[in-house]
């Protein structure tokens, strides 16, 4: 009964949060300065009051705000996001749809890779505290954590796509696939992989520091706990103390971070998408904010929020199984 109430409570909470976000998104973008209709046309010969008025009408911005809100809520609940303000002739679903898969592919795989590598580094350096590995990895992870992705991305691009000194120019300079090659089947898969190598590498390196540092600290906390001493006193082998007693408990704090990171996958990686011209949702968000493409922004923020809320919900639920204290509470 307790479990069911807990579960229902969490689901209801997630649903209400999503509903709030839905309403909030509408107002959030409309308080941003500037008018999308005129932004579309400013600086061109097409910029005149008649065109701006016609644009407002097309975008539905000539209606009173409450009416716009009702239309927006109704459409969103039916998952109809309408037409992009900026990419004329394309629906929001088309504009976003093209970029969901590349985003998930790149950010998803590099997030998972960085979690796995980061946690392993964290575990090993925490366990071997004070060793050369610990000092080395601490320095490395702090460096990559603090390092600007943009800068590292540019270096990698110059080195492996442009070829500098001893570095061979083997990889493509950007994009998702070789434009104009018309590849299909496995050849296309490998082509995409070749395009993914550099951004994947940069993102994995850039993300892993965070996981390594948190895991290391968490491990050190747990290692000082009494039950670890007890296990050792019982004569449990060191490897078993680590993997059976310390790691599972130390993973708890990183679990939330991991789940949230997975939720943020849809948010893309703005700087890396920029450096490697990767078609992702992150850069689309920036562009849409700049151009005030309300229609695209509303859908994007809904996806982002829904992903994070869902990941959070999964974290809450799995926590219940990982940590019995949550259930007891």
């Amino acid at each position: 009964m307790g479990t069911r109430t807990y579960l229902l409570g969490k689901i209801l909470q997630a649903f209400l949060t999503l509903l709030f976000v839905l309403a909030f998104n509408f107002f959030l973008f409309r308080v941003m300065p500037g008018d999308p209709a005129s932004l579309l046309l400013r600086g061109t010969s097409a910029y005149n009051p008649e065109n701006v008025e016609a644009e407002k009408e097309r975008l539905g911005l000539d209606k009173p705000l409450p009416q716009q809100f009702v239309t927006y809520m109704g459409n969103t609940l039916r998952l109809e996001f309408g037409e992009s303000f900026v990419y004329q002739g394309q629906s929001v679903s088309e504009v976003i749809g093209d970029k969901v898969w590349p985003t998930v592919l790149l950010v998803g795989t590099s997030t998972i890779a960085s979690i796995v590598i980061g946690l392993l580094i964290g575990i090993w350096s925490g366990w071997r505290r004070g060793s050369m590995f610990d000092y080395g990895s601490l320095g490395f992870t702090l460096f990559v954590y603090a390092m600007p992705e943009f800068w590292f991305g540019m270096l990698v691009l110059m080195a492996f796509a442009g070829g500098v000194g001893p570095f061979p120019a083997i990889f493509p300079t950007g994009g998702y696939e070789t434009v104009g090659a018309d590849l299909t089947g496995m050849a296309h898969v490998f082509d995409v992989l070749n395009h993914m190598v550099l951004p994947f590498f940069v993102l994995t390196v850039a993300y892993l520091g965070e996981y390594a540092l948190i895991m290391r600290n968490s491990l050190l906390d747990v290692m000082a706990d009494d039950y670890v001493q007890t296990a050792r006193a019982k004569g449990v082998r060191e490897q078993q103390v680590l993997w059976r007693h310390v790691v599972p408990n130390a993973l708890l704090p990183t679990w939330t971070l991991t789940m949230l990171s997975l939720g943020f996958i849809f948010g893309g990686a703005i700087t890396i998408e920029y450096v490697f011209s990767w078609p992702g949702l992150g850069y689309l968000t920036v562009q849409s904010i700049e151009a005030k493409d309300y229609a695209v922004l509303q859908a994007l923020f809904l996806i982002f929020s829904a992903a994070v809320i869902f990941a959070n919900l999964i974290a809450d639920i799995t926590y219940m199984y990982l940590d019995p204290r949550v259930r007891a509470a």
């Binding site: 065109n51 900026v86 300079t173 104009g180 490697f276």
Partner: protein
């Protein structure tokens, strides 16, 4: 005994584990070897007939096209695709004059008859043009297209049709006719004014294809009349064009055109250096300079119609109320005085800005009609009329007009009898966070203004916010830019009284709130005069008046950069001559799309240019993936085994 059994069991389990791993590894290796062989065979085998002999021209840039629909497009980058797929009635030549050659790339109109009152125009069009679906292009298409643009607020195209009275009529297969509201020379064919791409009626009149609102039709794939048609548009990635099978003009040497979108200009430059693309449009001087020094790459910098300006609030709060305009905002009253504005113009050294901000590229600016406009349109100030860079002269001008520094703080005050006597000349000066040049220029302009006793407080805002500020009239100075048409009509139209932002909320082109009835009168006159020479005289006079009133200090005419691989294609056509855009981006269809040919093709070398992929070969990928799978399997099996052993212990 028990121990012995356990040890035996363990040994057996271990053997079986290793056997499993070995079997798995061998299996993976066999599959890998097979896949590698297949992949290598695929890479090495000669391509099926014709497949890889396609000649592909790939150009790249950071410009992001938003639509392929001529009704709703307005970005310069979008025109490249229309120049390959549509016709105009009257086309540009390489000097932005009228293309008189009459070939397949010229405008559709073969003859234009103007009535005596210059209010009825009869166009005869060619009968040899065929749409890419085999339908002939007729006068019906022309009349339909112009009426479509007129009736649907087509962003750019409708601008050129505002003088047309009523509908455009198709008289027969090859003749259209329309009337104008006033006499004019704009449609007589002596200038390429009507920048309206002709669309196929049988497509655009069909709601089942274009939907209820044609302006929102994607137009991909399109039906066109030029040598190429748009086949794919991957937002933010690329655009693909293929040959129009019904094109009757000279056969292009290229089969496919790709435009590849780069978000990052360094990557664009690398792509050109590595041969991933054949042609690039860099936008910053440093990248351009770098490309200029590369082997096998030729570069060109020139000018296209564009300018940057310091706009001044000439009196949004002080001008008279009329049917159209309500005074609003809080611009500084001193800027209502042309003397102050002229002094500001004289305190700005355009040459230094070009040298330091644009690193020597581009040209110093004077009037709102750029030097590469339609021939004869530009007026250039000469002699006494030049508001040349002259700090002392600017000081003297202000001094004589009574703007003196009465309290000795270095900032001048407004004279007695002015709108606000004693108010210091302290101005808000807005620059844009998304245009670094505006920020860089302010670092020169602010000290210059300080030298003449004007304090300018620089504020950095986004272009979106600046648009609002301008409409509210709550600014004194701002830095922005325009990309006018080659014909000066549009640029001149921006500064009529009725183009001012009318009420603090709505929009207007006239962001300097310049209002001069004499200028407005001349604007109408240049549109309605029937003598082209007389039109240029009026256009010159308008520029002179606007320059002298100094509502804008035109800073510079920005550069356009191009870079291309010399080992890939030849046959570029530069427009405007001599240093403009090598891909001939005004008009349509542009001949460059059939003069471009792979290097070596002309010499009988059979030159081809096809796309090559870069990266790790497929075989190595398969080996890497197989290695990872085997490693993961070994780790999993070993850790399970260890766990099982520990549990037993």
């Amino acid at each position: 005994m028990r121990m012995a059994t356990s040890a035996l069991l363990k040994e057996g389990a271990m053997r079986s584990t290793w056997r499993t791993i070995l079997a798995f590894a061998i299996g993976v290796m066999l599959v890998t070897a097979g896949l590698m062989q297949a992949a290598l065979a695929q890479e090495e085998s000669p391509t099926p007939s014709g497949a890889d002999e396609r000649v592909t021209f790939t150009f790249g840039g950071t410009g992001v096209p938003l639509t392929m629909n001529p009704m709703s497009g307005y970005l310069a980058i979008e025109f490249y695709f229309w120049t390959a797929t549509y016709h105009l009635l009257v086309d540009w030549d390489l000097n932005l004059g009228v293309d008189q050659e009459g070939g397949p790339g010229s405008g559709l109109a073969t003859d234009i008859q103007v009535s005596d009152d210059a209010m009825t125009y009869t166009y005869t069009i060619r009968d040899d043009v065929v749409w890419s679906d085999g339908e002939p292009l007729t006068a019906e298409d022309v009349a339909f297209t112009l009426n479509l643009y007129k009736g649907n607020h087509a962003y750019l195209p409708q601008n050129y049709l505002t003088l047309i009275d009523g509908e455009v009529r198709a008289l027969d297969e090859t003749t259209i006719q329309f009337d104008t509201k006033t006499p004019t020379s704009l449609y007589s064919g002596e200038v390429a004014y009507m920048y309206d791409y002709i669309l196929p009626e049988h497509i655009w009149s069909d709601p089942s294809i274009v939907g209820e609102r044609p302006k929102q039709y994607s137009n991909v794939p399109n039906v066109g009349s030029g040598p190429f048609i748009i086949e794919e548009f991957e937002t933010d990635q690329y655009i693909k064009m293929v040959r129009n099978p019904y094109w009757t003009g000279p056969e292009p040497a290229i089969d496919e055109i790709y435009y590849r979108i780069f978000k990052n200009e360094d990557a664009l430059a690398e792509a050109l250096k590595q041969g991933e693309i054949d042609f690039a449009y860099p936008s910053t001087p440093t990248i351009y300079d770098d490309l200029s020094t590369q082997p096998n790459i030729e570069t060109m910098n020139g000018t296209i119609p564009t300018f940057d300006e310091i706009g001044m609030n000439t009196g949004s709060a002080y001008q008279e109320q009329d049917d159209y305009f309500t005074p609003h905002g809080d611009g500084h009253p001193a800027l209502t005085d042309p003397t102050v504005r002229r002094a500001i113009r004289m305190a700005i050294d355009s040459q230094t800005l070009v040298d330091r901000v644009l690193q020597g590229y581009g040209l110093p600016g004077d009037t709102i009609v750029p030097p590469v406009s339609v021939e004869g349109a530009k007026w250039t100030p000469e002699g006494d009329e030049v508001l040349a860079f002259d700090i002392e002269g600017a000081k003297q001008l202000l001094e004589e007009a009574g703007y003196t520094d009465t309290d000795g703080d270095g900032v001048r005050e407004m004279p007695p009898g002015s709108l606000e006597p004693g108010r210091p000349l302290e101005f808000r000066y807005y620059v844009q966070s998304n245009d670094q040049n505006t920020v860089n220029a302010s670092q020169f302009i602010q000290p210059w203004l300080e030298e003449i006793g004007i304090q300018a407080n620089v504020e950095v805002v986004t272009s979106g916010r600046l648009g609002d500020i301008i409409n509210e009239g709550t600014y004194d100075l701002f830095h922005w830019g325009w990309i006018p048409d080659p014909d000066p009509d549009s640029a001149l139209s921006w500064f009529t009284c009725d183009s001012r932002p009318p009420d603090g909320k709505s929009y207007g082109n006239n962001d300097a709130y310049y209002c001069n009835p004499e200028y407005d009168r001349m604007y109408e006159e240049q549109r309605t005069t029937t003598d082209p020479d007389e039109r240029w005289e009026i256009v010159h006079e308008m520029q002179r008046v606007f320059y002298n009133d100094a509502a804008y200090a035109v800073l510079w005419y920005g550069p356009t950069f191009a870079a291309w691989r010399t080992d890939r294609f030849t046959g570029y056509r530069v427009q405007p001559q001599p240093n403009g855009d090598p891909l001939e981006s005004w008009g349509g269809p542009s001949a460059v799309w059939w003069t471009l040919e792979p290097v070596g093709a002309a010499g009988g070398g059979g030159g081809t240019s096809s796309v090559e992929t870069r990266g790790i070969p497929a075989g190595i990928w398969i080996a890497i993936i197989a290695g990872v799978v085997i490693l993961a399997a070994v780790v999993i099996v070993l850790s399970r085994r260890r766990r099982a052993r520990e549990d037993e212990a």
